[in-house]
């Protein structure tokens, strides 16, 4: 909503500068977005009369003029303008003046053009920061020439009413009344505690005949059209509007068209009530019918586009045809032309949501529809139509017929809201008396008595005591409400257990050198093919968004890989030497499709790494995580082959007692290629929800050892395919109670080891808490270990 300040001053007298106005009205609830100072930069442009024009001695396209600017001497100005004549009065930018040139502000200097001195510049409207929309009488190219005799040396900015300040407001949807100059004037008056002057609306009705003899109105759907007023004007003289009116429109952001259209727009801006004007001859038999459109009914709107309507939409029609889409746009077939003999002003009220939906379906949001969609007060229609015909009389562009046709089946009456000052004080934390509140209510035309408040019909947002509290707060001042800290019942601020586990995971990842990534929650359904996920996989049961931004953002992810691989790819292709990333995010697993209940949202840790890293590097990251979470002793890694996007020989399932937590491994080279990752990338995916279940933060002190450990190193030769986990399981099983730690320290292939075999070396440590062990005590379990290794794994002790 653009509010020209000069227009505002018609209804409220604010003795403060614009900045003060902006600050105060913002704090009383009308938020200012910006201010546009019209013609602010233009200075020192005065009226001057051309008294002499001579050809430039050295330039065909220039003339040398003498201009009388009301001073003692005439100014000599050289110009290329062609529309000048002796006696023309024009705007003259004096030496030192500032004007626009190609959109930039420039300062006028004394100059020489081809050897002839020039003391200023004559201006077009563009050079003063305007367009021919503002001044239709201005020539298309050339100097502005005043239409009437004016004094010389006068400030052109004042004379042409160029200066204004336009304040742009962001109006909230609950305040349709503020989408108007009058509505904002009412707010401004209340804010400054000064009187609000509602315009005096008087109509002389000099036209012959009565409106009711010219038109009838029938509302067929009073739910969608609570009120319809028509008023006729005869002997219409179409022409341009006067300067002041055009200015107000352009300042507010609406292009002037002609006097009648401008009047409808003026009233819409001033009173917030959209108006429409029809050519009366286009309404057959003078019968206006407000009805639902028929499915497939067609109408060509004023913008020349043929629109196909449906039965949810409301139209204004005569007996045979629609002449307007109600509240949205008029029809081409009833457009006012220069030949219009008589016209009908429509001032109607339409159902807001219906207008909004119609405008949306037609893709045609207009100034009118955007006003209607907020829900307007039907009582405003009456003053609006009278204001329109009053302006017709003021502008002398028609003769207003007597009376109006007003179809208003269910009048909106004001209503009352019960309240108590105590209730409002309790909510706000204020201590206002009944009288103080009544005074505050009075500012916004709410009549209150301490128990109930009578609400004017233009304030549909005031329905409860809470709504009234806001009005009290607004005009008492939000800033004046004393700041307190809730005494109330104390509560303990804390995180839940799972939030604590998540924090530990995050901290561990960071301390291991991984940075946190964030990926989108929705992606393309093509991801499943890209990752080679089989067609019958449960991963493919993904939730689909009905109205996505495109296929690429259309399914809620059931697997986190894609986001991580895209991130890895971005890093790789931007030539980052390495990237160590993790994401803690959700997957969305539907319980059924289509959804009948909320899906399961599972939290997943996804790790993605490339660079100075190998499988054991990423595995180490997961091991450290399990160490922090107190799970290291229960977690097992076992070889896995069947994840289609992972390297089958470099993949381990991570589990606790057979319950899978996720996996860690190398990305399958085919998939890497699809993501343009030309290096080995390593991935781990672990369920955070399961980590929360298994994490164990209990720690108990174990006495530090008092007696030395006895250690044995062994190296055994086993077949290549034997995994160390199997060897370690045997050592743990047969090591007995005295076994303390086992540590793999070498895996060797090559010299002295037969083809297809490897040597695996361990350091095995035994300890008792109450004595120093003897060789014999350690020899026994070692024998058992070696025997079992030989039997189960065909392992041979390396000599």
């Amino acid at each position: 909503m653009n509010l020209p300040m000069r227009w505002l001053s018609d209804y409220v007298n604010i003795k403060a500068d614009t900045q003060d106005f902006i600050d105060k009205i913002t704090l009383s609830g009308s938020k200012v977005e910006s201010v546009n100072y019209l013609a602010k930069e233009v200075s020192n442009v005065v009226t001057g009369k051309v008294v002499e024009i001579e050809q430039h001695p050295d330039a065909d396209k220039l003339v040398v003029t003498k201009i009388d600017v009301g001073g003692e001497e005439n100014l000599q100005i050289v110009t290329g303008a062609t529309n000048l004549y002796v006696g023309a009065i024009v705007p003259v930018a004096l030496v030192g003046a500032t004007v626009y040139h190609d959109g930039e502000i420039v300062k006028i200097k004394k100059g020489k053009l081809r050897g002839v001195e020039s003391f200023g510049m004559m201006c077009s409207v563009e050079e003063m920061g305007f367009t021919r929309n503002d001044y239709p009488e201005a020539p298309e190219y050339g100097i502005y020439i005043f239409q009437e005799e004016v004094a010389l040396g006068e400030d052109v900015k004042k004379l042409l009413e160029m200066e204004d300040e336009v304040v742009e407001f962001e109006i909230t949807s609950n305040r349709p009344d503020c989408f108007s100059v009058l509505g904002l004037a009412r707010e401004a008056a209340a804010t400054y505690r000064v009187p609000f002057k509602y315009p005096e609306i008087k109509v002389e009705e000099k036209g012959e005949g009565k409106t009711e003899d010219l038109v009838q109105v029938e509302i067929k759907n009073s739910e969608l059209c609570p009120r319809y007023i028509a008023r006729a004007v005869k002997n219409v003289k179409i022409g341009p509007s006067p300067l002041w009116l055009r200015h107000r429109l352009t300042a507010a952001g609406i292009r002037p068209i002609n006097n009648i259209v401008d009047i409808t727009n003026y009233v819409m801006l001033e009173m917030g009530q959209p108006m429409h004007a029809f050519d009366i001859d286009c309404i057959e038999k003078g019968k206006i019918v407000v009805r639902n459109a028929e499915d497939g009914e067609k109408i060509t709107t004023l913008d020349g586009v043929e629109r196909v309507l449906d039965s949810s939409m409301l139209v204004i029609a005569d007996e045979n045809k629609a002449v307007a889409v109600a509240g949205v746009m008029g029809g081409e077939n009833s457009k006012i032309t220069e030949n219009a003999r008589a016209i009908i002003f429509e001032s109607a009220n339409f159902n807001g949501p219906n207008v909004r939906i119609t405008a949306k379906k037609l893709g045609l949001r207009t100034d009118a529809s955007s006003k209607y969609e907020k829900g307007l007060d039907p009582n405003a229609a009456f003053d609006a139509v009278n204001r329109a015909v009053q302006l017709v009389e003021m502008l002398g562009c028609g003769e207003v017929c007597k009376g109006m046709v007003d179809s208003y089946p269910n009048k909106r009456e004001s209503w009352s809201v019960e309240y108590s000052s105590e209730g409002i004080n309790n909510l706000l934390g204020t201590k206002l008396s009944d009288e103080e509140m009544i005074e505050l209510f009075d500012l916004i035309e709410v009549k209150a008595d301490g128990k109930k408040a009578i609400i004017p019909t233009f304030r549909p947002d005031l329905l409860t005591e809470a709504d009234l509290s806001e009005e009290i707060a607004r005009f008492y001042g939000y800033d004046n409400i004393e700041t307190t800290l809730a005494a109330g019942t104390p509560t303990v601020g804390k995180k839940s257990y799972s939030q604590i586990v998540e924090d530990k995971i995050m901290d561990t990842m960071i301390s291991l050198g991984l940075s946190e990534a964030k990926c989108f929650s929705f992606e393309s359904p093509k991801v499943f093919d890209k990752l080679n996920i089989p067609s019958d996989s449960k991963y493919r049961n993904a939730i689909t968004i009905s109205n996505p931004l495109g296929e690429d953002f259309s399914v809620m992810r059931t697997i986190t890989l894609n986001g991580m691989l895209n991130s890895i790819s971005t890093n790789y292709n931007r030539r980052n030497e390495s990237a160590y990333l993790f994401e803690m995010g959700k997957v969305y697993i539907p319980k059924n499709l289509p959804l009948t209940e909320l899906p399961k949202e599972e939290n997943v840790l996804t790790i993605g790494m490339y660079g100075d890293i190998d499988f054991y590097g990423i595995k180490g990251v997961t091991e450290e995580l399990f160490e922090v979470l107190g799970m290291k002793d229960v977690v097992e890694y076992s070889p896995k082959k069947d994840i289609p996007f992972m390297h089958p020989g470099r993949l381990a399932e991570i589990s606790v007692k057979g319950d899978s937590l996720g996996y860690v491994g190398e990305l399958h080279p085919t998939i890497a290629e699809r993501y343009n990752i030309d290096t080995k990338a390593y991935i781990a995916v672990i369920s955070i929800d399961k980590l929360c279940g298994y994490a164990n933060f209990e720690r108990k002190y174990k006495a530090l050892p008092k007696f030395p450990a006895m250690t044995r190193d062994i190296a055994v030769i086993v077949k290549d395919e034997v995994i160390v986990k199997d060897i370690e399981d045997i050592i743990k099983e047969k090591g007995g109670k005295l076994l303390e730690t086992i540590q793999l320290f070498d895996v060797f292939k090559g010299k002295q080891i037969p083809e297809g075999y490897k040597s695996v070396a361990y350091n095995i440590s035994f300890r008792a808490s109450d004595r120093t062990l003897t060789d014999e005590e350690v020899n026994a379990p070692m024998k058992k270990i070696l025997k079992e290794l030989e039997e189960k794994l065909e392992a041979k002790l390396r000599g």
Binding site: T172, L427, T483, T491, M509, S515, E516, T544, N547
Partner: protein, 341 residues
Amino acid sequence: MKDRLSQIRDLAVKRLSEANDLKVLDEIRVEVLGKKGELTQILKGMGGLSKEERPIIGQLANEVRSEIEAMLEKTKKDLARKAQEIRLKAETIDVTMPGKVRELGHKHPMTQVIDEIKNIFIGMGYEIAEGPEVEKAYYNFEALNIPKEHPARDEQDTFYINGVGDFLLRTQTSPVQVRVMENKKPPIRVIAPGRVYRSDEVDATHSPIFHQLEGLVIDKGITMGDLKGALAEFAKGLFGEDTKVRFRPHHFPFTEPSAEMDASCFACGGKGCRVCKDSGWIEVLGCGMVHPKVLEMCGIDPKVYSGFAFGMGLERVAMQKYAISDLRLLFENDSKFLKQF
């Protein structure tokens, strides 16, 4: 005899002051104080002195002995110190060369902002609530007093699942308010950060996925003054002790009265700059007293309890705080970007 002792002392002092390594010290010690040393010889020869002379010479000899011993010790220390100085000098390295350590990772800037805000509110007695991102229309709209015909429910703003109906991607974190009120008895103090979804094309300032943080306080006797107090404290915590706030009336369907809170610009302190677009203020959050209808729908009696709620977009906070110019950077996960925070 006295003269002899003086000579021994003087000679020892001279030699010690000229000594420049430990070996020489040892020689002097042996020659003077050793078993066959001069002083030792004198002491041994004390038996030949008269009864009168014996104590005088004895005392003198002992004095000379301690004097030489002390000097020896001192010289030894001086030499050791000098030797160390030379060694330390030889060991000098270039301390401006880079350290050797595995680099730490970096938390995502959004997480850092969320963590900071969480810590402030935990300190003020708030718990952290969570709620689903795939949400029912009831929680996202109806229960928040947003009726069926409200523009916010249009398909152009909201992602729906199964067509416009019961299921959608939450457009705000406010539904968590409702879920908390349904499941918890007052006093309630919670915040709920999380992802929200709106149908905006991706560009420098828009993303269909972004983060919000919701807050809710319900108790007996909570006033708008309390709302102002709590949020002013929060703003100080986030932007610094000197931060001022102002509350502007606004409109949200689920609060009444409603407000927007601005904080004095942290970049210029309120004088006006590029960050605050010359206004001196930065819009931080929306807030208000929980609408009685919303309380009622959640089974809380508005005659007994009152409360306030607030909600804020977090991307803007992160972008302002870290001067990030393009929202898309937040989801690209470029290491060069992440390592800056």
